[in-house]
């Protein structure tokens, strides 16, 4: 033990002068640390000294003029519960001394057998033990404060499920007072809550477990774990329950909102489909009859009239293309039933061969990787994604030796990043976001055909499959579209599209 700063104040309560002198001499001989000895020969004096001074330890003879036996100890202990007491006994007082130990005395010593080594040692140990006990008490208080103020419930049972602890402000939510359930059987108390009783049972069987359960209006998330003794055997269980009612309610609200949104989106897309579909009919009339006019009355129309009619016709063509693209757009946005395995190698091969005429016309060299992974998705959507990207790559390419490459850049975290790359005119960084909007075009109409909905279709189809699309490009430096899609995991059955 290290040297102490202040002297240790020992209060000796002994009415027999002979015994007192003996003890004083034993302590005077004690080496190593500074001791200050206070003497009291009656209980009242002792109590007075205890209340006024900072006594480190009490050496207590139980037989005093104004108090006898256990009463003596109890009075001293009650007066200064933090001060360790060493009971001094005679040969026939051992039983009382033992009882004093039970009641909180640190130690007892036989007056007859004291020696100069034993007494200082006993004092030292008594002080240390009290300090340790003090530290434990402080920790317990801290824990108790935490438990009582946090919105949790801390509970523990013994090996049979008898509740030894049930505290925490989280109990307030179910109207139970702290400590009210202690001493009762958990299985009886949780009788109506099989989740909770089951959790306690599992913890007592050695399993760490978590469960969310509803107690009336309150939702708790409960973590339980076995409590083991020094030998590692299960001595009971400990549980912590957290009030998650607010979170559960928020989740339910979120689910409802998602449901509403999905339903509205689906209605909107059905609506869009119907509208586009019905628009095609009068459009057919416009296109056809302006053409008939041109054909049948060619000689009766002057150049101006023919020009008017041709403009009308071209507008009709544009309108038709836009409607058809809106139809596709609506369709890729519609929910589909299940994700299936799509062989991307085959799909890309089919797409390229379907556009062979354009490829040959433009003299484009096409390179396709050999290792395209299968994706979890939908054939129609995949066709629209790669068909439009490939079509654009062919279209916006006036390079001397046009080249289009399709492949997979990486596969990670269940997703494959495909790329469609061309060496065409590229897209200025400023427009990288905007080009995905419907009917957005970055060039004059006469320069390139098409109405510009292709990329909007790509984006929506990609998103419907749960993927992402982005563009790497700079003006004059070609373009690479990166499409990330979920890969098909082997052995997985087709499942419903994720929300």
């Amino acid at each position: 033990m290290e040297a102490q700063d202040k002297p240790t104040r020992v209060l000796l309560v002994e009415d027999n002068p002979g015994d007192a002198r003996l003890i004083r001499e034993l302590l005077v001989d004690a080496p190593a640390w500074a001791l200050e000895l206070l003497l009291a020969d009656r209980l009242q004096t002792a109590l007075g000294l205890l209340t006024s001074g900072s006594v480190s330890v009490v050496l207590l003879d139980l037989g005093l003029p104004d108090s006898q036996g256990l009463e003596t100890f109890l009075s001293v202990h009650a007066c200064a519960p933090q001060v360790p007491v060493i009971v001094l006994t005679g040969l026939d007082d051992e039983a009382v001394a033992l009882r004093a130990l039970h009641e909180g005395a640190q130690d007892y010593l036989m007056k007859g057998g004291l020696d100069s080594g034993q007494l200082p040692r006993a004092i030292r140990y008594a002080i240390e033990r009290e300090q340790a006990a003090q530290a434990i008490r402080e920790n317990e208080n801290l824990l108790r404060t935490v438990v009582e103020s946090a919105p949790i419930v801390l509970f523990a049972t013994d090996r049979e499920g008898m509740i030894s602890l049930c505290q925490g402000s989280g109990l307030g939510a179910v109207g139970v007072a702290g400590g009210a359930l202690e001493g009762r059987s958990a299985f009886q108390v949780f009788g109506h809550y099989p989740d909770l009783a089951g959790a306690v049972r599992r913890a007592l069987a050695g399993e760490t477990h978590a469960v969310t359960t509803q107690l009336g209006d309150v939702a708790y998330q409960v973590h339980v774990t076995p409590a083991r003794d020094a030998r590692g055997l299960i001595a009971g269980m400990i549980g912590v329950a957290t009030d998650v009612t607010e979170r559960t309610n928020a989740e339910a609200r979120l689910q409802r909102t998602i449901g509403d949104l999905q339903r509205k989106t689906s209605e909107l897309e059905s609506f869009t489909y119907s509208v586009s579909h019905d628009l095609k009919e009068p459009l057919r009339t416009l296109e056809a009859f302006s053409q008939f006019l041109l054909e049948d009355y060619a000689d009766k129309l002057d150049e101006q009239a023919r020009d008017y009619l041709e403009r009308m016709g071209r507008a009709g063509v544009r309108l038709r293309q836009m409607i058809e693209e809106l139809l596709v757009l609506a369709r890729v946005g519609q929910r589909f039933e299940e994700l299936v395995r799509v062989d991307m190698q085959e799909l890309v091969r089919n797409v390229v061969s379907a556009m062979q005429v354009a490829v040959d016309e433009h003299g484009v060299r096409v390179e396709v990787d050999r290792d395209l992974p299968a994706i979890a998705g939908n054939v129609y959507h995949a066709e629209q994604i790669f068909g439009n990207l490939f079509g654009n790559a062919l279209k916006f390419n006036r390079a001397a030796e046009p080249l289009v490459r399709i492949g997979v850049r990486s596969v990670a975290n269940g997703r494959a990043t495909f790329y469609v790359q061309d060496n065409g005119i590229g897209v200025d960084a400023e427009y990288h976001e905007r080009i995905f909007q419907v009917f957005q075009q970055l060039h004059k109409r006469e320069e390139y055909e098409g109405t510009g909905a292709g990329l909007a279709i790509v984006k929506r189809a990609v998103e419907a499959l749960g993927g992402t699309v982005q563009l790497e490009s700079a003006l004059g430096q070609g373009a690479t579209f990166l499409v990330r899609l979920p890969v098909w995991e082997a052995g997985r059955a087709a499942r419903t599209q994720a929300a």
Partner: protein, 139 residues
């Protein structure tokens, strides 16, 4: 192979513009035929049953007033006298449900009405060559 004589075709379509477009395309096609028009399903079935010179092939739209093209198809297939009449759906719809249902009800084929008139003429050429030159129609 087939005949080269005027073939009687019944076109069932309630859109006067589409009818006019079809008539023009038929006139321009090299396979001679005579086109009869019915504006709704009831008229069509009447025409089929009563005509002295009944049509040998029917082009049938799905979207019709009162009863749909599919209803007409059911009636025609149920009628012993008309059961073998070649019926080709000619509809603006490209919905798979409409296509499959048509075949299941006994339509011989299904053509989607093109929006561009130019396509219509191309389509008619292929259609007419196939049905009036290559194929044999039932008597």
């Amino acid at each position: 192979m087939g005949r080269y004589r005027p073939v009687q075709v019944l076109l069932v379509d309630d859109s006067p513009d589409d009818v006019m477009i079809a008539q023009r395309a038929f006139r321009a096609s090299r396979v001679v035929n005579e086109l009869t028009i019915a504006r709704d399903g009831h008229e069509a079935v009447e025409l089929l049953r009563r005509a002295s010179n009944p049509p040998e092939l029917m082009l049938l739209d799905i979207k019709l007033p009162r009863i749909s093209g599919h209803d007409v198809l059911r009636q025609v297939r149920a009628d012993e006298a008309l059961a073998t009449l070649p019926v080709i759906m000619l509809s603006a719809s490209q919905r798979q449900e409409d296509v499959t249902e048509s075949y299941r009800l006994g339509a011989n084929s299904y053509i989607q009405k093109p929006v561009a008139f130019g396509r219509f003429q191309e389509i008619l050429e292929i259609f007419a060559t196939y049905w009036f030159e290559v194929a044999t129609l039932p008597e």
